[in-house]
């Protein structure tokens, strides 16, 4: 257990656990937090998990812990760790079961005032068009060959089916397709789970949310993104569904003996890993890329369904009902990237679990409209609270391997939320506050109550104070669909 006395304050909102804290640490842990968020991080096992993560071989710099951190399994949610390609490891548990869980934001020219009377219908239409819930089957059951294509092509597969625009693809991290995917590395069981579920939202904390752009803080960036104050926007939060979960489960099992074989000592078996350049490491990265591409395609198909819902409800009532992609970003991913370490460029595998990429201006992988600004960073709130649109900065490359926070971060356990909150009452409260809610499970809704999360505004204040992101716009939810 980590206590406050174990942390050294190294900046106004930066705290360090030095490697002397535990003999098996290889690098320091750095937490970005104000006093209140620090207390929240000390309230569970988050920082112990970050210390455990710091024992992975070949890590460089420090393990960064974002202000929205919370306890996960093995590696904390809100953690970033980079391992050298030459002697570092890749750990599936440090990326997560929901590989390429992420968020997509679409903007619109729909004035909130015009759409307001139709928001209940819009919530119902989104609920009807976007399959959600436990183990749901999607609208596009795949053959084995089609699944292989999805694995290799990602969101581009959806473009070929007519379910995407070229603009959507350009405004997706990695253009919606990670290199190196090899479907040969996918188990039969993962295939069985993946074939029926493409184009589904799932359950838990995944959602489709209609927002109104409440405040623009960077007019130039907001204009580039198509975000206008008082107009609607849409967020989609989901990942690779049972396909990605199975890929991670398969490799957490497969790497148990591999970790022993490579003589790697770990404080937690959920951190099992293999050298990045080993056959096991390469196989995992090839399978992970398949799941990441599946997730990009999944969010693309859900965006297509959301567009159908918008047209169905709003056509004839508003002048323009189209949705334009702002950006789509992963927050559970392992990426091979080049970073500057001690003045030298080096290739590393950046593990981001509950953390987004946040590259600054000039990054060649951004579409032209964002290249001078930096990469859009999407920070969804918690159903009843704000969400934020930020921009990555050059500072993030120095502080956090080009990474930022991914949300508000839980602070209350699901167990406690279930004990203290009632789904029906929560739905009534949200409706009274002007948020239309469609939820597959009231118990599930209670677990995801805004009270179970940290203050997203405080999280965003910390990342902007540290300088790893700048503010563009604040969004307010007006309709939410939960699985």
């Amino acid at each position: 257990m980590v206590h406050k006395k174990d942390l050294q304050r190294v900046g106004p909102v930066v705290w360090e656990i030095p490697p002397t804290f535990r003999p098996d640490m290889r690098v320091p842990v750095r937490l970005l937090a104000d006093e209140r968020l620090l207390d929240a991080a000390l309230g569970d096992e988050s920082l112990t998990q970050a210390v455990n993560a710091s024992t992975l071989p070949g890590l460089v710099g420090h393990v960064t812990v974002m202000p929205d951190v919370h306890q996960g399994y093995g590696f904390p949610i809100g953690g970033v760790a980079a391992a050298r390609l030459t002697d570092g490891v890749v750990s599936p548990g440090a990326i997560g079961y929901d590989i390429n869980c992420g968020v997509r934001l679409l903007s619109s020219g729909i004035p909130f005032a015009d759409a307001r009377p139709l928001l209940g219908d819009l919530a119902s239409a989104l609920d009807a068009h976007c399959p959600s819930g436990v183990g749901t089957k999607g609208s596009v059951p795949l053959t084995a060959k089609e699944l292989d294509r999805v694995c290799r092509e990602g969101a581009s597969w959806a473009l070929k089916q007519g379910w995407a625009t070229a603009e959507d693809i350009a405004c997706t991290e990695e253009n919606g397709r990670i290199d190196g995917a090899d479907p040969e590395c996918i188990s039969e069981r993962a295939r069985q789970r993946g074939r029926p579920q493409l184009g589904t939202l799932g359950a838990g904390n995944h959602f489709v949310e209609v927002d109104v752009v409440e405040q623009v803080l960077d007019a130039r960036a907001a204009q580039a993104m198509g975000l206008q104050e008082g107009h609607l926007a849409l967020q989609i939060h989901c990942g690779s569904r049972g396909f990605g979960h199975q890929v991670c489960s398969d490799f957490v099992a497969e790497l148990q003996p591999a970790t022993r074989r490579y003589g790697i000592q770990l404080p937690d078996r959920e951190l099992v890993c293999a050298p990045i350049e080993s056959p096991e490491g390469r196989r995992y990265l090839a399978a992970m890329a398949c799941a990441a591409n599946y997730a990009f395609a999944n969010r693309q198909i859900l965006a297509h369904h959301a567009r159908e819902a918008f047209e169905e409800v709003l056509r004839g009532h508003v002048r323009r009902w189209e949705l334009h992609q702002v950006y789509d970003i992963a927050h559970n991913m392992g990426k091979i990237e080049e970073h500057t370490l001690a003045g030298r460029r080096e290739r590393v595998c950046v593990h981001r679990k509950g953390a987004t990429r946040a590259f600054g201006p000039g990054f060649a992988g951004l579409p032209p409209q964002y290249r001078p600004l930096g990469q859009p960073v999407l920070v969804p709130g918690s159903m009843g609270t704000a969400s934020w649109v930020l921009l990555g900065t050059a500072t993030s490359m120095e502080v956090s391997f080009g990474s930022c926070c991914h949300g508000a971060g839980r602070v209350m356990s699901r167990h406690q939320a279930k004990r203290t909150l009632r789904g029906e009452r929560l739905r009534q409260d949200l409706e009274q506050a002007g948020v239309h809610v469609r939820a597959g499970s009231l118990a599930g809704l209670a677990e995801e109550a805004p009270q179970a999360y940290k203050d997203v505004d405080a999280v965003v204040e910390v990342v902007t104070q540290v300088g790893i992101a700048t503010k563009v716009a604040r969004l307010r939810p007006v309709a939410v669909v939960k699985g």
Partner: protein
């Protein structure tokens, strides 16, 4: 909330424990086979899995083998999750034996699942140790949700 204890000393059963983002269960069994049974019951209760009333069931035998007790526990629960999510099948009463070399044989009666209220993404190895106690065996399981 106690889910599975029937009172007295919890030598056999399960209890939900706090975890910020996921679900966790502390499971007790008089022996490893009982622990596997209790863990299955606990996981299915967490998922809110209910059968279709009066539906026909079919027998199935599952055989698994693992290098250690923790891996056997994870693999067993993963098998049940797959049946639940992908096949829509819920086990009724389970007869389960663990033989030498950690070979598990489970005889199940599977029926259609009528309701499944929560999604479990995966069974994790996080902090997982099957511990021998004076009353049997114990483990704490974390499920990714």
């Amino acid at each position: 909330m106690t889910l599975g204890y029937t009172g007295g000393v919890p030598s056999s059963g399960y209890v939900e424990i706090d975890h910020t983002a996921d679900w966790a269960l502390r499971v007790h069994g008089v022996d490893l086979a009982d622990l596997l049974q209790q863990a299955a019951a606990g996981m299915l209760a967490l998922a809110g899995a209910l059968p279709v009333p009066d539906a026909t069931t079919q027998p199935r035998t599952l055989r698994l083998q693992a290098a250690d007790r923790e891996t056997l526990l994870v693999r067993w629960l993963e098998e049940l999750l797959f049946l639940l999510e992908n096949q829509g099948l819920l086990p009724g009463p389970i007869q389960l034996e663990v033989g030498p070399g950690l070979q598990l044989e489970a005889r199940l009666r599977l029926g259609p699942v009528g309701r499944l209220s929560r999604a479990i993404k995966a069974v994790t190895f996080h902090g997982l140790h099957v511990i021998d106690t004076s009353e049997g065996v114990e483990a704490t399981l974390v499920f990714d949700v």
